[in-house]
Symmetry: C2
Subunit: 91 residues, 2 copies
Protein backbone atom coordinates (compact mmCIF):
# COMPACT_ATOMS: atom_id res chain seq x y z
CA UNK A 1 0.00 0.00 0.00
CA UNK A 2 1.88 3.06 -1.17
CA UNK A 3 1.09 6.69 -0.83
CA UNK A 4 2.30 8.16 -4.10
CA UNK A 5 2.64 11.62 -2.60
CA UNK A 6 5.62 10.19 -0.66
CA UNK A 7 7.07 8.10 -3.48
CA UNK A 8 9.23 11.04 -4.60
CA UNK A 9 11.60 10.42 -1.67
CA UNK A 10 12.52 7.06 -3.22
CA UNK A 11 13.25 8.70 -6.57
CA UNK A 12 15.35 11.46 -5.00
CA UNK A 13 17.23 8.84 -2.94
CA UNK A 14 17.91 6.73 -6.06
CA UNK A 15 19.05 9.77 -8.07
CA UNK A 16 21.42 10.92 -5.31
CA UNK A 17 23.09 7.54 -4.73
CA UNK A 18 23.38 6.93 -8.50
CA UNK A 19 24.69 10.37 -9.47
CA UNK A 20 27.04 10.65 -6.46
CA UNK A 21 29.65 8.64 -8.37
CA UNK A 22 29.79 11.35 -11.06
CA UNK A 23 31.81 13.92 -9.00
CA UNK A 24 34.16 11.13 -7.86
CA UNK A 25 34.70 9.93 -11.46
CA UNK A 26 35.31 13.54 -12.63
CA UNK A 27 37.79 14.16 -9.77
CA UNK A 28 39.62 10.86 -10.45
CA UNK A 29 39.83 11.51 -14.22
CA UNK A 30 41.11 15.08 -13.62
CA UNK A 31 43.67 14.36 -10.87
CA UNK A 32 44.43 10.70 -11.71
CA UNK A 33 45.02 10.38 -7.95
CA UNK A 34 43.54 7.24 -6.38
CA UNK A 35 45.81 7.04 -3.30
CA UNK A 36 43.07 7.27 -0.65
CA UNK A 37 40.52 5.23 -2.62
CA UNK A 38 40.04 1.66 -1.41
CA UNK A 39 40.62 -1.00 -4.08
CA UNK A 40 38.43 -3.40 -2.08
CA UNK A 41 35.55 -0.93 -2.12
CA UNK A 42 35.63 -0.35 -5.88
CA UNK A 43 36.14 -4.05 -6.67
CA UNK A 44 33.14 -5.04 -4.50
CA UNK A 45 31.00 -2.09 -5.55
CA UNK A 46 31.60 -2.52 -9.30
CA UNK A 47 30.86 -6.26 -9.05
CA UNK A 48 27.75 -5.54 -6.97
CA UNK A 49 26.39 -2.93 -9.39
CA UNK A 50 27.01 -5.32 -12.31
CA UNK A 51 24.96 -7.94 -10.48
CA UNK A 52 22.20 -5.36 -9.84
CA UNK A 53 22.23 -4.68 -13.59
CA UNK A 54 21.91 -8.41 -14.40
CA UNK A 55 19.14 -8.68 -11.78
CA UNK A 56 17.34 -5.68 -13.31
CA UNK A 57 17.53 -7.25 -16.77
CA UNK A 58 16.23 -10.51 -15.31
CA UNK A 59 13.19 -8.99 -13.57
CA UNK A 60 12.83 -6.51 -16.47
CA UNK A 61 12.83 -3.43 -14.20
CA UNK A 62 13.76 -0.36 -16.25
CA UNK A 63 14.65 1.85 -13.24
CA UNK A 64 17.09 -0.76 -11.84
CA UNK A 65 18.63 -1.27 -15.30
CA UNK A 66 19.20 2.44 -16.06
CA UNK A 67 20.43 3.42 -12.56
CA UNK A 68 22.89 0.53 -12.39
CA UNK A 69 24.12 0.88 -15.97
CA UNK A 70 25.08 4.51 -15.20
CA UNK A 71 26.67 3.65 -11.84
CA UNK A 72 28.52 0.64 -13.32
CA UNK A 73 30.12 2.86 -15.96
CA UNK A 74 31.24 5.48 -13.39
CA UNK A 75 32.50 2.92 -10.84
CA UNK A 76 34.35 0.96 -13.56
CA UNK A 77 36.22 4.11 -14.66
CA UNK A 78 37.32 4.80 -11.05
CA UNK A 79 38.31 1.13 -10.53
CA UNK A 80 40.26 1.23 -13.81
CA UNK A 81 42.34 4.21 -12.61
CA UNK A 82 42.92 2.51 -9.24
CA UNK A 83 44.19 -0.70 -10.93
CA UNK A 84 46.30 1.27 -13.44
CA UNK A 85 47.95 3.27 -10.61
CA UNK A 86 48.58 0.09 -8.58
CA UNK A 87 50.51 -1.41 -11.49
CA UNK A 88 52.39 1.84 -12.16
CA UNK A 89 53.34 2.47 -8.52
CA UNK A 90 53.42 -0.88 -6.72
CA UNK A 91 54.49 -0.70 -3.08
Amino acid sequence: MMDFSFEWIGYVAASLTTLSFLPQAIKTIKTRDTESLSFGMYAMFTAGVLMWLIYGLYIDNYAIIVANAVTFLLAAVILGFKIYNSFKNPN
Copy 2:
Protein backbone atom coordinates in the same frame (compact mmCIF):
# COMPACT_ATOMS: atom_id res chain seq x y z
CA MET B 1 6.61 -13.04 -11.88
CA MET B 2 9.78 -14.05 -10.09
CA ASP B 3 11.79 -17.21 -10.26
CA PHE B 4 13.11 -17.61 -6.71
CA SER B 5 16.01 -19.76 -7.88
CA PHE B 6 17.41 -16.54 -9.40
CA GLU B 7 16.52 -14.23 -6.51
CA TRP B 8 19.91 -14.93 -4.88
CA ILE B 9 21.60 -12.63 -7.42
CA GLY B 10 19.67 -9.69 -5.96
CA TYR B 11 20.79 -10.58 -2.45
CA VAL B 12 24.43 -10.98 -3.47
CA ALA B 13 24.25 -7.66 -5.37
CA ALA B 14 22.75 -5.88 -2.33
CA SER B 15 25.34 -7.39 0.04
CA LEU B 16 28.24 -6.38 -2.23
CA THR B 17 27.14 -2.76 -2.74
CA THR B 18 26.30 -2.37 0.97
CA LEU B 19 29.47 -3.98 2.37
CA SER B 20 31.78 -2.34 -0.20
CA PHE B 21 31.91 0.79 1.98
CA LEU B 22 33.45 -1.23 4.84
CA PRO B 23 36.98 -1.53 3.30
CA GLN B 24 36.85 2.19 2.38
CA ALA B 25 35.82 3.17 5.92
CA ILE B 26 38.57 0.96 7.42
CA LYS B 27 41.19 2.43 5.05
CA THR B 28 40.06 6.01 5.80
CA ILE B 29 40.05 5.45 9.59
CA LYS B 30 43.53 3.83 9.44
CA THR B 31 45.26 6.31 7.11
CA ARG B 32 43.10 9.41 7.80
CA ASP B 33 43.90 10.29 4.18
CA THR B 34 40.94 11.61 2.17
CA GLU B 35 42.87 13.53 -0.51
CA SER B 36 41.55 11.62 -3.53
CA LEU B 37 38.02 11.17 -2.15
CA SER B 38 35.41 13.48 -3.66
CA PHE B 39 33.51 15.60 -1.11
CA GLY B 40 30.64 15.92 -3.60
CA MET B 41 30.34 12.16 -3.87
CA TYR B 42 30.19 11.54 -0.11
CA ALA B 43 27.84 14.48 0.50
CA MET B 44 25.41 13.24 -2.18
CA PHE B 45 25.81 9.58 -1.31
CA THR B 46 25.30 10.04 2.45
CA ALA B 47 22.22 12.22 1.85
CA GLY B 48 20.89 9.67 -0.66
CA VAL B 49 21.38 6.71 1.67
CA LEU B 50 19.67 8.64 4.49
CA MET B 51 16.70 9.21 2.17
CA TRP B 52 16.68 5.49 1.26
CA LEU B 53 16.57 4.77 5.01
CA ILE B 54 13.60 7.14 5.50
CA TYR B 55 11.92 5.59 2.47
CA GLY B 56 12.50 2.09 3.87
CA LEU B 57 10.97 3.11 7.21
CA TYR B 58 8.04 4.63 5.35
CA ILE B 59 7.26 1.55 3.23
CA ASP B 60 8.27 -0.67 6.18
CA ASN B 61 10.78 -2.71 4.17
CA TYR B 62 13.23 -4.40 6.54
CA ALA B 63 15.88 -5.14 3.85
CA ILE B 64 16.01 -1.50 2.71
CA ILE B 65 16.16 -0.29 6.35
CA VAL B 66 19.03 -2.59 7.41
CA ALA B 67 21.13 -2.19 4.23
CA ASN B 68 20.86 1.60 4.29
CA ALA B 69 21.39 1.97 8.04
CA VAL B 70 24.71 0.10 7.68
CA THR B 71 25.76 2.04 4.57
CA PHE B 72 24.72 5.37 6.13
CA LEU B 73 26.96 4.73 9.13
CA LEU B 74 29.98 3.82 6.97
CA ALA B 75 29.48 6.69 4.50
CA ALA B 76 28.97 9.20 7.34
CA VAL B 77 32.30 8.17 8.94
CA ILE B 78 34.12 8.69 5.60
CA LEU B 79 32.33 12.03 5.01
CA GLY B 80 33.24 13.10 8.56
CA PHE B 81 36.97 12.52 7.91
CA LYS B 82 36.73 14.36 4.57
CA ILE B 83 35.11 17.40 6.22
CA TYR B 84 37.55 17.33 9.17
CA ASN B 85 40.54 17.24 6.79
CA SER B 86 39.10 20.08 4.69
CA PHE B 87 38.93 22.30 7.76
CA LYS B 88 42.40 21.25 8.94
CA ASN B 89 44.10 21.70 5.56
CA PRO B 90 42.10 24.25 3.58
CA ASN B 91 43.57 25.14 0.19
